[in-house]
């Protein structure tokens, strides 16, 4: 039994709004009812887990072996980030139904080539300015 997701970019990191494309490959013992490729984000950390499927590609009644090219447009957010309480990660999953056999590929969706680290941001970072005075109306 094989499930595989091949991504056609040589990096785990993707910019928000970019396309993520590739090929989903399956080779199962028996023909499944369906295979689904899901683009989703999920949280981990102190809070109860949230999971949201953003895009999916469902192939009904496929043969036991097969492959399908895919291309998903990533939304502008949420970014992959990690804070003191919450970590949000993006992933692609290829799931054979109804058994639930799964292959997962982790992604980083952020403006920089790593997840946003919230705890590393200090108070009052450089770059902000303050103007005080009567409003100009």
């Amino acid at each position: 039994m094989t499930l595989r997701i091949d991504i056609t970019h040589d990096r785990q990191w993707h910019l928000p709004g970019e396309n993520v494309s590739g090929r989903a490959v399956w080779n199962l013992d028996a023909a499944p009812e369906a295979v689904e490729l899901r683009l989703f984000w999920h949280t981990s950390g102190k809070g109860t887990q949230d999971v949201e499927i953003v895009k999916d590609l469902r192939i009904d009644n496929p043969a036991a072996s097969g492959e399908r090219d895919f291309s998903f447009s990533l939304p502008l957010g949420p970014y992959s980030f990690s804070g003191s309480l919450i970590t949000l990660a993006w992933a692609l999953e290829l799931v054979a139904l109804p058994g639930g056999d799964t292959e997962r590929v982790q992604l980083v969706v952020a403006p920089v080539p790593a997840e946003i680290r919230l705890e590393s941001l200090g108070r009052g970072p450089a770059g902000h300015s303050i103007h005080i005075g009567p409003s100009k109306r």
């Binding site: 109860t48 502008l76 919230l118």
Partner: protein, 569 residues
């Protein structure tokens, strides 16, 4: 070049042992069997009660009617209406008003059927077609069917537990299998909403029903009795009733009194409208001692229906127990509303980008997270419910002290709860005082700034702004994570950025002004999921000497970087 990134996560349990499954099955089997047994009993009773509605009608004659003592202290009175009827040329006699037990702790309830069926009157009875000697005068709705959901919860827990114990995990048996996370979104969101909705409706139904019996009916009785007429009455009997319960022995003072209205003598044992007629020995004994048989007293009689009367129509602390189910009702309504709201929120916004684009360019008047009236009402309700519940136990402790038999364990146990109650009352006054503060108005432009852009905030006040001697406005971003611990739900917050917009003691700067701040681009935009969120807000703190400060939080939205900035063409 193609990249294959293995997940490496195989957090799925490899499989539960047969012994573990067996133990779980036995555990949940108890729930399943007990729930099933009670479900069958309740359904059977409901079916038998419903069958009476289809028994054939037969004319009958009432021979005698009245109230008899059952000898049972818990329900000492029962209506007795003896009637005779004829079937197939043979006379039968029955004394059943309804099918099943009709005993009551209330003399009034037991007397009502005899009022309806005076001796010598003609009536229609219903005869069991299988047993001609079994007849009743009245049919009852099978109300008992309404409680069938209680054992069904046990059936669901038991059956669901056994199913979960033996359910085949998808992919179990295949080594190093990856557990699907996204499948939880497919299965979990709908299921959790349905559970929340079911729990919300259950709490609403139970809280609502209890509120009717413990709060609304007693309150209606108190209000209506204000116009009842005072009449002289005589105590016929004063009996200390007692019966065994799961928690020990319960006691009730049963004061039977009679009064005469327009030549007819009525008997009743309603002392007040309190839903809690039973309690401890000392309280019940004191009432019995106060109302000795043969003593004269006064009662209050409904002028429109002289059969209704009460000895004491005044308000007593026992009535406050009616506030207790309100907490269930409010929790149920809140949970129901939350489940509906989360259903709406889970629907993808079709024009999310358009919405963002619209408010991105606009100015936006921010609204505080709660207005002054909402704060007062919220704090008032919380303080009322808390102190209403606590006052019942405080009253019990005070009564013990007054009769020289203090319940020290209860008294000491109550101290922290009473202190919290006093703090809540203080909080209500604090909130009321704060409502007279100057009201801030905060406008931001753009309405929803993007990361890496400049935000302008303008502030002004309505009211006596000169009372504020120091003003601070801070733009803050924080993580918010909600999680369950046992049966409680907790929310933790952790700030990850705090940017000062203004920090001044200048009178003219406090009154009105504006400030700019650049939101860093290497941070996190607003994000809102069911249990986790990244929240941006402006917090305004205006210090007032010897008075509650102006303190308002205004949530706002910070958008991700624009597409053009990320993916320049």
């Amino acid at each position: 070049m193609k990249l294959k990134i293995g997940s490496g996560s195989s957090s799925r349990l490899d499989g539960r042992s047969a012994a573990g499954k067996g133990c779980l099955t036995l555990f949940f089997l108890v729930f399943l069997l007990m729930g099933s047994a009670f479900t069958i009993i309740i359904i059977g009773e409901a079916v038998r009660e419903t069958a009476v509605w289809f028994w054939p009608e037969v004319d009958c004659t009432v021979i005698s009617s009245g109230v008899e003592e059952t000898g049972d202290d818990e329900d000492p009175y029962a209506p007795v209406v003896v009637f005779e009827y004829r079937i197939d040329g043979r006379n039968y006699e029955s004394h059943k008003v309804v099918r099943g037990s009709s005993t009551s702790s209330s003399y009034d309830k037991a007397r009502t059927p005899s009022d309806r069926y005076p001796p010598g009157s003609r009536a229609t009875c219903r005869v069991n077609p299988d047993i001609p000697g079994d007849a009743v005068l009245e049919r009852r709705l099978p109300w008992i069917a309404l409680v069938v959901f209680l054992p069904l919860i046990f059936v669901a827990v038991g059956g669901g537990g056994i199913y979960a114990a033996w359910k085949r995990d998808p992919g179990s048996g295949t080594p190093a299998q990856t557990e699907s996370i996204s499948q939880r979104a497919r299965l979990g969101s709908g299921l959790s909403r349905k559970i929340a909705l079911a729990m919300g409706l259950l709490f609403t139904a139970v809280g609502g029903s209890l509120s009717v019996f413990l709060l609304i009916l007693p309150a209606a009785g108190l209000v209506s009795a204000v116009s009842w007429v005072e009449h002289p009455a005589t105590i016929r009997a004063s009996t200390l009733r007692s019966w065994s319960t799961d928690d020990g022995t319960s006691y009730r003072a049963d004061v039977l009194y009679e009064y005469t209205v327009e030549g007819r003598t009525w008997i009743s044992n309603r002392r007040d409208f309190s839903p809690m007629s039973s309690g401890g020995y000392a309280g019940a004994k004191a009432v019995v001692d106060m109302h000795q048989a043969g003593n004269s007293t006064t009662c209050f009689v409904d002028p429109g229906n002289p059969s209704r009367s009460v000895l004491d129509r005044g308000f007593r602390p026992q009535y406050l127990i009616g506030l207790f189910p309100l907490a269930f009702l409010l929790a149920g309504l809140g949970l129901t509303a939350h489940s509906f709201r989360s259903r709406l929120q889970s629907v993808p916004e079709i024009s999310e980008q358009a919405h963002h684009a619209e408010i991105y360019a606009a100015q936006l008047d921010l609204k505080p997270d709660a207005g002054p009236v909402a704060k007062i009402v919220g704090m008032g309700i919380f303080a009322a419910v808390w102190n209403g519940i606590i006052s019942i136990f405080v009253w019990q402790a005070v009564q013990g002290i007054r009769r020289g038999d203090p319940e020290w364990a209860l008294t000491i146990f109550l101290i922290p709860f009473v202190l919290v109650g006093l703090a809540l009352i203080g909080g209500v006054f604090y909130t009321i005082l704060a409502s007279f503060n100057p009201r801030p108005r905060l406008t931001i432009s753009p309405g929803a700034p993007r990361l890496g852009t400049r935000l302008r905030a303008e502030w002004s006040f309505r009211g006596q702004v000169k009372r504020i001697h120091h003003l601070r406005i801070v733009l803050e971003g924080h993580e918010k994570a909600t999680y369950r611990r046992g049966t409680d739900t907790h929310t933790d917050r952790e700030a990850f950025i705090s940017l000062d917009l203004v920090d001044t003691s200048s009178e003219w700067e406090i009154a009105r002004g504006s400030a700019d701040v650049e939101i860093p681009e290497d941070t996190m935009h607003s994000f809102n999921a069911t249990n986790n969120a990244v929240v941006w807000s402006l917090h305004l703190q205006g210090e007032i000497a010897r008075w509650p400060d102006v303190s308002e939080t205004f949530d706002m939205e910070v958008l991700p970087l624009a597409r053009e900035r990320l993916l320049p063409r």
